[in-house]
């Protein structure tokens, strides 16, 4: 009996319980509504959820949603949608239907938002909305995987064929500065014989992002008058591999070891151009053609949860010797010997402290030594530099970001030579330290309008002077693809070592930039047009044409307009770009008797770069055609200064990369296929002949063409890897 009673009791209990459960089940609340953006446009596929339950729905094409919930009591309703800030609201579920209208503020997102674009070309690996990628740099014909070589096909640059360096908007090569992970690089180009193009010391593969600015750059970058080339090195490498390169001018070997939270790469390269010059006749009278030994190492380690520590080091030793022939009497010759030692080291650390704060900082060290001998008489030059920097980035909200930092750039320069008569050692040197700080804020009024405003303060220990430079950038994107941008700023840079060593009190040279641009970036097509005005002040000037009496009274201007078009969509497997730059510049500086166009400036520059991937042949072929109108040169036989023009420069280069196997690349490139006889300028004899006439000699390419071949082999655990990702 008792047992039965118990069973009955349990039955009853269960009935009650189940009734309770079913009662709960049937107490439903219907929630409906609509999700829109700030303007009231509907947002489809938004996710609406009662937090910590399964109950919710997706909004339909009209942004509408409806669902029922069996939950009761106080809950939180959350609405999320891609591209919008998420929304939360307290809600009481009591069986009564509820209707909600949810407005989601748009999220400032990199993919869609307006960007600071005036003056800058940003190239990243990951984001698709970029103009140039590391691979693009490497596969540009005529550039032979040189960063400057490839950037020279972009608007804003002037081809100066005998130099191989970047000349931006009427500025000379020293005005375009290179930064790696935010830290300055002194002597970014390798040594080259006079009037032969030099190559950048850093390979494009090392970098995940390249930002090439032809003006109006951020207050973070100082000591650059015309251009900042900002290279961001790659994060950790994911796979271990060994790479071997056999080149027509040398060989290299690299090994990368990857581990869970870091990686390390070491590379040794030997370049010797002697056998090549033995085969192909050169216009230069080499005693010993260039050879160099280079080593580099990159170390990456993730630190803590969000930190990344990077180290990069590079050393290079190169030498060559040649005979300079006198212009009047070519039988008189002078032996020129050069040995260059170069070392660069860079430690950078960055970490995300929390949602609001990022910190990054680093230290770089540069050493550059040139030991020159002129007919055995030594001329030594050395420059050591350190650059330390700490930057903090703080987001006040997702629309306002503040960036500020402080840095120290110290340089120690010394040049010495033996006086030919007294055999005493003559020395010129200086120690300069520039302490700087900057602050900048970026404000997104919406996804359509952004302002970046800031300033930079610098104190120079040599001149004992402080300066403040304002910087401002605006960009407005009315529609989905096109945007208008404006940039203004003042920029300063210490004069060249050559002049500072003579007069330690020389002020920084100054440039003021005004840039207006319009660009449309749509999927795989880019169009942009940009116009600018640049005003130079405080340029170094010779007093009465005396190279030892220097002041800052030089001045000048540059103005121009540029057009760029890139299309990698219209034609299958084809990618091409066209750029045109117009430049009008004059300056009165150095030994100029009056304002004139300097030797490196050409009025019209045009480049056409074409790349075609041939799937069947497993090859990529590329062509680059470049044109530069004539450049001025000075003929001392005439009264007018820099009034003569060389003929136009033209070049058609080609390259081919062939991938027969997935671990093998064969690469061939050749410059100046059509053999144009390019003349870069004329050198004149220092004194006239008996008839009072100065004799000239054309500055030309060392050889009409340069042919380069390389075979690159990659050994890794899985064979699908070759050297394209990291070299």
């Amino acid at each position: 009996m008792l047992r039965n009673a118990k069973i009955n009791f349990m039955k009853e209990l269960f009935t009650i319980l189940f009734t309770a459960i079913s009662f709960i089940t049937f107490s439903q609340t219907t929630i409906s509504g609509r999700v829109t953006d700030a303007k009231g446009e509907s947002i489809p596929s938004a996710n609406i959820v009662i937090l910590d339950t399964y109950d919710g729905a997706s909004s339909d094409a009209d942004g509408k949603f409806v669902f029922t919930s069996t939950e009761t009591g106080d809950k939180i309703l959350q609405v999320t949608a891609v591209g919008f800030e998420s929304f939360q609201q307290a809600i009481t579920l009591d069986g009564h239907s509820q209707t909600l209208t949810v407005k989601l503020p748009e999220l400032i997102n990199q993919l869609e938002a307006v960007t600071i674009s005036a003056g800058s070309f940003t190239a990243g690996e990951e984001k698709r909305r970029t103009i140039l990628k590391p691979l693009d740099i490497a596969t540009t014909a005529g550039a032979t995987a040189d960063i400057a070589g490839a950037l020279n096909t972009l608007p804003g640059t002037q081809k100066v064929g005998e130099s191989g360096r970047l000349f931006v908007r009427g500025g000379d090569d020293s005005e375009a500065r290179v930064f790696i992970d935010g830290l300055a690089v002194l002597n970014a180009y390798g040594t080259a014989a006079p009037n032969t193009p030099s190559r950048g010391r850093f390979l494009p593969w090392m970098f995940k992002g390249t930002s090439f600015s032809t003006g109006g750059y951020s207050a973070e970058y100082g000591q650059a008058l015309s251009s900042a080339l900002v290279l961001n090195s790659k994060d950790k490498v994911e796979m271990s591999q060994t790479d071997i390169g056999i080149l027509s001018v040398g060989a290299d070997v690299a090994h990368t070891q990857a581990w869970e939270r870091g990686s390390m790469t070491g590379k040794v390269q030997y370049t010797n151009i002697r056998p090549y010059f033995g085969l192909i006749n050169q216009r230069i009278d080499w005693k010993l053609a260039p050879a160099s030994l280079e080593g580099s190492t990159a170390f990456r380690q993730e630190v803590g949860k969000k930190g990344m520590l990077k180290f990069f080091g590079n050393f290079n030793r190169s030498n060559f010797s040649l005979y300079n022939h006198d212009i009047l009497d070519s039988s008189i010759k002078q032996l020129y010997e050069l040995t260059n030692n170069y070392a660069y080291g860079n430690v950078a650390y960055s970490t995300i402290l929390n949602d609001k704060w990022n910190i990054r900082g680093g230290l770089s060290y540069n050493l550059n030594q040139n030991n020159t001998k002129l007919d055995g008489s030594p001329l030594d030059e050395s420059e050591k530099g350190i650059h330390g920097k700490v930057v903090a980035e703080h987001s006040l909200s997702d629309k306002v970001e503040i960036r500020f930092g402080t840095e120290l750039i110290a340089r120690d320069y010394e040049a010495s030579k033996r006086d030919s008569s007294s055999s005493a050692i003559l020395k010129q040197d200086f120690k300069e330290s520039i302490s700087a700080s900057f602050i900048e804020t970026e404000i997104y009024a919406s996804n359509h309008f952004v302002t970046r405003a800031g300033g930079r303060f610098e104190y120079n220990s040599l001149t004992n002077k402080s300066i403040v430079d304002p910087r401002l950038s605006l960009a407005y994107k009315p529609g989905k693809h096109g945007q208008v941008a404006f940039a203004y700023g003042t920029f300063r840079q210490s004069p060249k070592n050559l002049y500072v060593r003579v007069n330690n009190n020389l002020l920084s040279e100054k440039a003021e930039h005004f840039i207006l641009s319009y660009q449309v970036v749509n999927d795989q097509r880019t169009f942009r047009v940009e116009t600018y005005y640049k005003k130079y002040d405080n340029l170094v000037k010779f007093l009465d044409a005396d190279g030892y009496a220097l002041n800052n009274k030089g001045y000048g201007y540059a103005k121009g307009a540029e057009v760029f078009w890139r299309d990698s969509k219209s034609l299958k497997n084809v990618d091409y770009w066209i750029s045109y730059s117009y430049l009008d510049t004059k300056r009165n500086y150095l030994n100029f008797p009056y304002a004139a166009t300097p030797y490196f400036a050409s009025k019209h520059n045009f480049s056409f770069v074409y790349k075609h991937f041939l799937t069947k042949l497993k090859s990529q072929v590329g062509f680059t055609y470049s044109y530069s109108s004539g450049r001025p040169y000075n003929n001392p036989n005439e009264n007018k200064f820099n009034a003569n023009m060389t003929k136009a420069y033209q070049d058609l280069s080609a390259n081919i990369s062939y991938l027969p196997k997935n671990f093998l690349i064969i690469y061939i490139s050749c410059t100046n296929l059509l053999g144009y006889n390019n003349v870069f300028g004329y050198q004149y004899s220092t004194s006239p002949d008996e008839q009072g006439v100065y004799h000239s000699r054309a500055v030309q390419q060392a050889a009409k063409r340069f042919l380069f071949m390389g075979v690159f082999i990659t050994i890794s655990k899985n064979k699908s890897v070759n050297q394209l990702p990291n070299l």
Binding site: L17, S45, N47, V49, L51, D52, Y54, L111, D523, L724
Partner: protein, 212 residues
Amino acid sequence: MKTTTLILAFALSFIVSLADDGKYMEVMQKNIMTVYTAKTIPDLQAVVNTFERVGAAEKTKWEPFYYASFGYIMMANQEADLTKKDSYLDQANAAIKKASAIVTNESEIVAIEGFIQMLRIGVDPATRGQEYSGLAMQSFGKAVGLNPENPRALGLLAQMQFGTAQFFGSSTAEACGTADKALEKFATYKPASPLSPQWGKEMTVELKGKCK
């Protein structure tokens, strides 16, 4: 009586927890069917949203995020606009990261990671081909290593090998061998739970069809 109450309480809590898990199983099974059959991007987004809701509520279950990621992959597959395709892959990646934060070294999750990397190649083959093909191969290798019986890891590996071989015009024998092995594993595959992944066979059969 005390014991009875205890037993009762225990039994009740068991029933309730069973009911809870039952609801999880039921909702998941229903939506897994939907994600396998959904044809359009909005339909896929709707089911992905459901997985995200379930995932957010459950906190200790990896399957909701796994299937959310799978749904985003299917969306990326359908999308022609490359920028959008990339953003779906970003979403897929974010979802699978949530799954791998819940269970480590799950072969199915690692295979999905590789799947995402493989699809990244298609967005920009010239720039990404080399790097992502290496990463995808590495992930598939790891997935097979974690569970040699996982037919999807083998099937995806076969896809990757086939694509690479085609690109370089080399023999597809290795890829076809892997596809055979994958099909064998598909035949013997016994899902550990009704929520275990079941997709990938058709894709592999299709690939096998291209083998001579």
